[in-house]
């Protein structure tokens, strides 16, 4: 009899009426089987990481909840933190059907910013490729990611077909995909080489890739920082591109990277001179100069239009 029951003066329960007695007495198949000694038990299938089931997050109630989150608190938060300037949405007007949005990646804020920037009809039928090891590490973070941003797990630490099959199936079902081909957030403000995932999926599913450049989110919440600092951001959508017949995933990934780099150039300079450099394959690279850390950080300052603006001479002469 428990101490509490004794203190409350409850009568003692006879052993015959205790449920635990019967639970302990129950045998297989009412009870789980025990593993014989000397036999290795089957490994328990993980339900986190790449195995996290996100089907429920694409049911109608979950989609409605996500639409409410994206168009409500997420939009407000993005407007307050990032003051986004959205450019190039007109380049998407002639597109029809699902597309793959391939963007550079600086910050956790990129996804909310893009989800609130991508226009209809894609905004509310989009999945986001999210790192399986990071976003789907636990059931709680996985559920939140799947519900709030429509994330699906993408393996980035090992080669596996599961992620690609899931993404391809969903694209075939009419879902658009937002993916960061760099594979993770920028560690130092410069971009990282694009991996082939977006290019491979485009070639496999036959849907176009829309290059997207995000600028400024690194100033708000860069990798390693926990508290956001409000600043201005720019999202620039490029023209949709498709792999050509003689282009494999690696080459197409390089072309997507060049297109994003051209958009970055367009953001920091002007469209025509950016196009001139793009045609001459002379756009500044997303990955920055191949130099030591301080020189890379130093060079980063040049990419900000605000940083390049000269201060006015005073007094005026």
């Amino acid at each position: 009899m428990s101490k509490l029951a004794r203190q409350l003066g409850l009568p003692r329960v006879p052993p015959m009426l205790r449920p635990s007695r019967y639970l302990r007495a129950a045998e297989f198949p009412l009870r789980a089987p025990s593993t014989p000694k000397g036999v290795a038990p089957l490994p328990r299938e993980r339900t986190t990481g790449a195995n996290f089931d996100t089907d429920w997050a694409r049911t109608k109630p979950a989609r409605m909840a996500r639409a409410a989150i994206v168009d409500g608190p997420m939009r407000l938060a993005v407007a307050g933190l990032a003051s986004p300037d959205r450019k190039g949405q007109d380049r998407l007007l002639d597109l029809d059907g699902p597309v793959i949005f391939a963007a550079n990646h600086h910050s956790h804020l990129d996804t909310p910013l893009l989800l609130t920037s991508i226009p209809e009809p894609w905004r509310h039928k989009i999945i986001v490729g999210a790192a399986a090891d990071y976003f789907f590490g636990t059931r709680v973070t996985g559920a939140i990611s799947a519900l709030a941003i429509g994330a699906i797990p993408i393996e980035r630490t090992k080669v596996g077909r599961k992620s690609a099959d899931l993404a391809a199936d969903l694209i075939h079902d009419g879902w658009s995909l937002l993916i960061y081909p760099e594979g993770g957030r920028s560690p130092d403000g410069w971009g990282q080489p694009f991996r082939g995932g977006a290019a491979y999926l485009a070639a496999r599913t036959g849907v176009p890739v829309v290059p997207v450049h995000v600028a400024g989110t690194g100033r708000i919440l860069r990798k390693g920082r926990n508290l956001p600092r409000p600043s201005h951001t720019t999202v620039t959508f490029g023209r949709a591109i498709m792999p050509t017949d003689d282009e494999n995933a690696t080459r197409f990934a390089a072309r997507i990277e060049r297109e994003v780099a051209a958009l970055a150039d367009e953001t920091t300079t002007d469209w025509y001179s950016a196009r001139q450099r793009a045609h001459a394959t002379d756009s500044p690279e997303l990955t920055g100069p191949a130099a030591g850390a301080w020189r890379r950080a130093w060079a980063l300052g040049d990419r900000s239009r605000r940083a390049r603006r000269r201060s006015r001479r005073w007094p005026e002469i």
Binding site: K87, G88, L93, D94, D270, W271, Y272, R275, Q276, H279
Partner: protein
């Protein structure tokens, strides 16, 4: 008429004979509408064609047009690194109303510039070919060309409005065999290549008129913008019967021989002015096809507009951007391109009509080429009615000589003081003296054209050139000579009388007044326009 052609084949325009079952018909009435019952058995209504389907992939169509031009080399072959390239484009008078973003000009110019960027062309200027129209504002340029193009060129001073009064910015290229002077924007004239981006909303636009008028000045334009030319243009919507175009084509010969190499890009759009859904879509439907929802919408809209102050009504209508779709794009040699453009234009607009009528009626909408984001003043009412709508014919005018024209428009005595300063003086001083276009031309045109203050406002403010109201009056001179009487229904009586026309309170009154000229039982034709139609009268 609002059936989305993506789901159904668009129906051509047609002529309806009005009977007792015909419902009251919709008339545009400035920034409002009227429903009018027209006499049965002697009235016919000409309805425009439903919108033709737009090109499925406009970007690719534009690219193909630039790569496979008509009677010219592909554009990339004309672009070289050290060259001087000028891109001129139609101004805010096209299309009407302004179209939803992205504007066709933006789509084309971005592709032209992308090819120029690939060729490494550095010296590029973009010029709004506005002739003697008012300058476009930054917002209007951004709307037409997009932010990308504006931000790339305007800050460097490489995107600007044509200035026909800049003494250092114009050159004379020569004279035609009829001794017509040909002047042109100096930058355009001295370029290695002039790419002209045109937008044809009606068959009057495009061809040599784009450069010979759009980039010219008063000394060149006056040779075809005059009473004699306009009276001999029957009509100026039919290029091959238009003296206006013959004169422009002669000037084009001079440009061809002494001016820059021109790569002409012309486009046509469909009749999707008011959309397939939304409150205004009913304006594209035939009245007997209005659903209960359409009828409720119309009643609500009409009531709301009746209660609204004029300025608010104007603001609402000026905010409407038409969902036009591109129906064709062709590029290359000016003359060859324009013939294809005309064919495509006529495909959308032409409606066969048998015989003329005693009384022609139409409702004038809130907009004409010269009051975009502005006020439709009485002179523009005259120009839109007697100039544009009257001339929407091929063959012979819809109304017989000596017939009556009835227009529906509020015709307020109201002017935009910034956009139309010379119009005010023209209306209040000159029209009080005479409405005869020849007398106005001979006595006052030069004075207004050379007035220093008007020139200053044209160059530095956002004013139409001092001579512009004269051209508006000349635009209607063919109709003025042809018609026996002009009646405006629902107009400000003072303003209507100043124009030399007769005011009527109702359509019944107007028909009664018309009987003095055309008898008691005249034939009536109602041109149900816009969306645009052009009568092919046989």
């Amino acid at each position: 008429m609002a059936t989305d052609p993506r789901h159904r084949s668009p129906r051509p325009g047609f002529v309806l004979n009005v009977d007792r079952q015909t419902p009251p018909l919709l008339f545009h009435h400035g920034d409002n509408f009227r429903l009018e019952k027209l006499p049965a058995d002697r009235t016919r209504v000409i309805y425009p064609a439903e919108p033709l389907p737009g090109l499925p992939d406009p970007e690719e169509s534009i690219r193909q047009a630039l790569l496979n031009p008509i009677d010219d080399d592909p554009l990339p072959e004309l672009l070289t690194p050290g060259m001087k390239l000028t891109i001129a484009f139609d101004d805010l008078s096209l299309p009407l109303p302004s179209m939803r973003k992205p504007d066709i000009r933006q789509r084309i110019i971005e592709q032209v510039l992308d090819m120029a960027a690939a060729a490494g062309v550095d010296d590029v200027h973009l010029i709004a070919a506005l002739a003697l129209h008012r300058r476009m504002t930054e917002d209007e340029l951004r709307h037409a060309l997009g932010d990308r193009v504006y931000d790339a060129f305007a800050p460097q001073g490489a995107l600007y409005n044509h200035d026909a009064e800049d003494p250092d910015g114009m050159v004379e290229l020569g004279h035609t065999r009829h001794d017509e002077a040909v002047t042109m924007n100096k930058r355009a004239a001295e370029s290695d290549l002039l790419v002209y981006v045109n937008l044809n909303i009606v068959s009057m636009d495009g061809g040599w008129k784009s450069t010979a008028t759009g980039l010219s000045g008063y000394s060149g334009i006056k040779h075809h913008h005059n009473v004699k030319t306009m009276r001999e243009s029957k009509s100026f919507m039919d290029r091959h019967s238009s003296e206006l175009h013959h004169s422009n084509w002669r000037q084009g010969e001079v440009i061809k021989n002494h001016g820059p190499r021109i790569f002409q890009i012309e486009t046509t759009i469909n009749n999707n002015t008011f959309g397939y859904d939304g409150a205004l879509s009913l304006l594209q439907k035939r009245e007997w096809e209005w659903t209960a929802k359409d009828r409720i919408t119309f009643m609500g809209m009409k009531k709301g507009l009746d209660l609204m102050p004029a300025a608010q009504r104007r603001q609402i209508f000026n905010g409407w951007k038409a969902p036009y779709e591109l129906t064709s794009v062709q590029a290359g040699n000016v003359e060859s391109v324009h013939e294809v453009t005309l064919e495509n234009c006529f495909k959308q607009h032409l409606v066969p009509v048998e015989g003329q009528t005693d009384v022609l009626a139409f409702g004038l909408p809130y907009i004409c080429p010269y009051n975009v984001n502005s006020v439709m003043n009485p002179i523009l009412v005259m120009c839109l009615g007697l100039g544009y709508f009257f001339n929407m014919y091929r063959g012979k005018p819809l109304v017989r000589e000596g017939g009556v024209l009835i227009m529906s428009h509020p015709t307020p005595w109201e002017f935009h003081p910034v956009h139309h300063p010379s119009y005010i003086d023209f209306f209040e001083q000159l029209l009080a003296e005479t409405t005869d276009p020849i007398e106005l031309e001979q006595k006052y045109e030069k004075q207004f054209a050379e007035d220093e203050w008007y020139i200053h406002l044209y160059r530095n403010s956002y004013a139409y050139h001092g001579v512009h109201p004269f051209y508006m009056w000349y635009w209607g001179s063919h109709a003025l000579e042809w018609l026996g009487k002009v009646i405006i229904v629902g107009g400000d009586p003072r303003a209507v009388r100043r124009l030399g026309f007769q005011p009527a309170s109702t359509m019944q009154d107007a028909l009664e007044m018309a009987s003095d000229t055309v008898g008691s039982s005249p034939s009536i034709t109602y041109m149900h326009n816009p969306p645009i139609l052009m009568a092919d009268v046989t």
